[in-house]
Symmetry: C2
Subunit: 316 residues, 2 copies
Amino acid sequence: PVFAQSASNTSTSEILKSWNNTANKQAIIAYVSDVTNPKSSNFIPVADRIATFDNDGTLWSEQPAYFQFFFAIDRVKKMAKDHPEWKTEQPFKAVLENDMEALKASGMEGLIKLVMTTHAGMTSTDFEKMVKEWSKTAVHPTKKVPFTDMIFQPMLELLTYLRANEFKTYIVSGGGIEFMRAFLTDVYGIPTEQIIGSTVKTKFEIVDGVPVINRLAELDHNDDKGGKPESINKYIGKKPVFAAGNSDGDLAMLQYTDSNTYKSFQLYIHHTDAAREWAYDRTSSIGKFDKGLDEAIAKKWTVVSMKTDWSAIYPR
Amino acid sequence: PVFAQSASNTSTSEILKSWNNTANKQAIIAYVSDVTNPKSSNFIPVADRIATFDNDGTLWSEQPAYFQFFFAIDRVKKMAKDHPEWKTEQPFKAVLENDMEALKASGMEGLIKLVMTTHAGMTSTDFEKMVKEWSKTAVHPTKKVPFTDMIFQPMLELLTYLRANEFKTYIVSGGGIEFMRAFLTDVYGIPTEQIIGSTVKTKFEIVDGVPVINRLAELDHNDDKGGKPESINKYIGKKPVFAAGNSDGDLAMLQYTDSNTYKSFQLYIHHTDAAREWAYDRTSSIGKFDKGLDEAIAKKWTVVSMKTDWSAIYPR
Ligand SMILES: [Ca+2]
Ligand SMILES: [Ca+2]
């Protein structure tokens, strides 16, 4: 409320500092000021101020591959000493030989095998430890910085701004739910119970007197496309009023949010900055932004250009 | 913190008013006072103060059948005019003829058919409306009062007491997640995103330009026994420090909570009051409390006797 009330009176330069003072920044502030104003006909009660954010490509970078993929790669290399058979077995052979072409050739089947081998067959507690351990030393393959240095500073400010106005901020992402929770809770200031993602099936068991949650090598839910509103309905039980994404995988979530009877806000991040980040959209294999871009234009949703709307990309 | 700090100095008569001043009440207050005291070695940070409550038999009554069952019965009767074939088809025939013996004889298969027919095949929004509509007029078959008059006043006070001490209170119940959210959010003061239950599979679709979540006639998750810690891990991502239940279906949740490295509290409600409520435990078909009772005794968990620990059962 502090921010919202001051927004109409004072300069907006203290809010969303890494955003240039463009129409898009003004639109965000105008929306938040309006729906948090008790005198506005568009006022939204605090309990219904649900804001959902995609993660890869929306809150941090996702090139040249989803960052969780590098975790899987590093896991395979670490596990290889106990799996001599991987020297001749795809997709592991490709990973061990850094042969990305062969890895791509192994297709979706290879990818699922890779993910299930590295993300299942352990307890939730042990998986959390692995991710936290990895996060301490892992660096991006080309930028050579920790992945957590590649979160988007303007989006961190947007999360903070929304929370200051009593929005409840959620991640709703295709990434693995327990991977994100272990890695990103502190980074984004979002508690585990507000991080939603793809899940494997799990099984409660008591092993030597100790209750554990075992992660099984079977997909439970793919939190992408229609899977996002399905997850939102299941985990939150309320339609968001604010949703942000960067690809066609977020279109259903934005459509769902757009159907809210409250005034809602749809935000798409457009990767337009080849110099400071990456530039890609309609034909990219990662973060394809084609149908979503068409619909955003048709429905006058907010499409943020990283190049022109953001004065900084990463935290300094 | 207000309550916790005053607890050690002043009389506890203002806290948990409908609880008699027994050892069980003292144990609850002693626990909360300890783990919320920053100077205690057992101090638990606010973010980790997760408390999970079973619903049926723990927060409200569950005899002579789970209250959601009466919703299903009433739905069948309402839908019957469009289903003339139900006059001869079980389990519907039994429901329409109020023949509980025949209904029981239809077994688990009949029950699932009944639940899926009445709880699936509509959108989430329409289902929510049905439950809310039903809740306005539905009354208990023998007590002849609204079901919401049959919540346990001492447990309402416990929820309030925990929230006053910055515990985040959740329902984790075998009941249907969307049924409970539509019915109980206001009653318990627990927002939809903190109500977890059994789920059917859902499917996002756009129908005539409107995004909807369709409820499918297929079980997604049975939130009972081991399913409870599985749900807690999935929805919350943290192990609770406080858990309450009333039957063997809650044992896994209490075991899971008991394995927390923080000091934790396990509470079982024992239905011992045939005069004011119902008395049942080891041999009951609903709310069977047998293995759980044995383990509670062995592990010195808190077993609340409704007859001796509670001065009132229902709100006045
Ligand atoms: Ca994305
Ligand atoms: Ca129960």
